[in-house]
Symmetry: C2
Subunit: 285 residues, 2 copies
């Protein structure tokens, strides 16, 4: 078990504390929207390995939700989260207030113009416009040496990496592996929305990814048209009411779509199940 943990809610206080901290050693940052699961906690452990102190942030960021999305019902459990962060070895939890992060008159957005045009950015056109500024803000407040993000939101990591490179943030970006439930479902705060029978069907994303990987491996199929068709079948078999938003094969650096799988291909998909939109991805190489 870990020692003391400090809760900070004020931006100015957080700036002062991390400035002090940075004089003594390196800072690892783990930004999240809270309602923590093992996936988040594995990011703390990754951050601890590579930095002296770990600052964990919890902020349900309104600007990355579109009006029709689940901002108002997004699950929260601040007390439980803090206990988990403490147990996982976080040093500081930064929980800023919404009105301080977005005061009246807020109008500054950071746009990675190309990499946001595909996948999630295509399906949720205002999403990344909300993600980049909140992370820029956290980077500016905390000035970390490293920042850890989960692979489950793969395009998000790649967009943020682009922001870091293009805007010269002296921050090392680390991608934490997706942590999965025993049956393969990628851990997500949104899994909480399902009842027991719906939860069983949520496995369809992982099963579809496995289907594609299997076909590539055993049958040497590389045409994404064929792979996509098989994945759709897998999904519909497990959850006949599933609404597939996209199944995409892309280069894992540029996120450019590809018609033929190669060693640099990542498959990403978004599926709406019983009103809940899930995403997942897997490298196909």
């Amino acid at each position: 078990m870990a020692g003391n943990i400090k809760i900070i809610r004020s931006i100015k206080k957080m700036q002062a504390v991390s400035q002090q901290m940075s004089r003594k050693g390196t800072i690892g940052l783990v930004p999240t929207m809270g309602f923590l699961h093992e996936g988040h906690l594995s990011l703390i452990r990754q951050a601890k390995k590579q930095s002296d102190k770990v600052i964990f942030t919890i902020f349900v960021n309104p600007t990355q939700f579109a009006p029709n999305e689940d901002l108002s019902k997004y699950p929260r459990d601040e007390k439980g989260d803090i206990a988990k962060i403490k147990a996982a070895g976080g040093d500081i939890v930064f929980i800023p207030k919404r009105e301080n992060i977005y005061p009246d008159g807020f109008e500054t957005y950071v746009n990675c113009e190309k990499i946001t045009q595909t996948l999630e950015g295509k399906s949720r056109p205002t999403h990344f416009r909300g993600v980049t500024p909140i992370v820029a803000k956290l980077f500016n407040i905390i000035r970390p040496d490293i920042a850890v993000f989960g692979q489950k939101d793969y395009q998000q990591v790649m967009v943020l990496k682009k922001m870091v490179v293009d805007l010269d943030y002296p921050i090392k970006m680390i991608i934490g592996s997706t942590v999965r439930e025993k049956d393969g479902l990628a851990m997500s705060s949104r899994n909480k929305y399902f009842d027991a029978s719906q939860r069983k069907e949520a496995i369809c994303l992982f099963q579809a990814l496995k289907t594609a990987k299997q076909l590539i491996k055993s049958d040497s199929i590389t045409e994404t048209v064929k792979l996509r068709a098989s994945m759709k079948k897998t999904i519909k078999k497990i959850c006949p009411t599933a609404k597939i938003d996209y199944i995409a094969f892309s280069d894992f650096e540029s996120l450019k779509t590809t018609n033929k799988v190669n060693k640099n291909t990542i498959c990403s998909l978004a599926v709406k199940l019983h009103g809940v939109r899930l995403i997942d991805n897997m490298k196909m190489g």
Copy 2:
């Protein structure tokens, strides 16, 4: 006269040096496009007053020039600039290379969406889209405690202040007064474009601002329609071929246009004289 001055051209080196520096004291940043005049040097002296070390940057930033503007002929004098910075007490000159600031695939822009819609932003629609990312980059590379910008580019300072507030940069923004030639012309690297007789006519911007201020003071005129008309006459009398881009009266915080001058009003204008576009501004309160 000042002591040693260090020239740094590599982004990585600059990051490392300023990280070292920030452990020992505060850093003041003065970002410029070079070809220095007394206005720039006064900013160094302002920065020196409020920080332990002053980093001066020279970078003719291509993204803030539109295709029809004067990027290719923008005056440069690196050797002369360095001597002047040394004499004024700068500690470091950062002169990054264009291909390192904007490598292939650069695609990240910072947009202050409202405050850039007026004045210069209206006349030069892509201008601030180029200004904000280069300054964000310099802020991220150097992580200064204070940054000094000249009042002559008043909207630029206000846009950058907005960026600093909205993105939580822990940087104090300081506005250095406009330094003028003896006849009142605001110092600008672009004044170099004029021959002797054109140079005399360039005084029309300052004279127009003085006209407005005089009318407010002695005749208590506050209607901007009347003031603008008088300013136009002043300009046309001094330089009959002048092309007035705008003469605007705005709130000096929000930059919202006003029809009646009050104590918070700033007058800004942009005029094209013999092919050279000049700007100037003055508080009317």
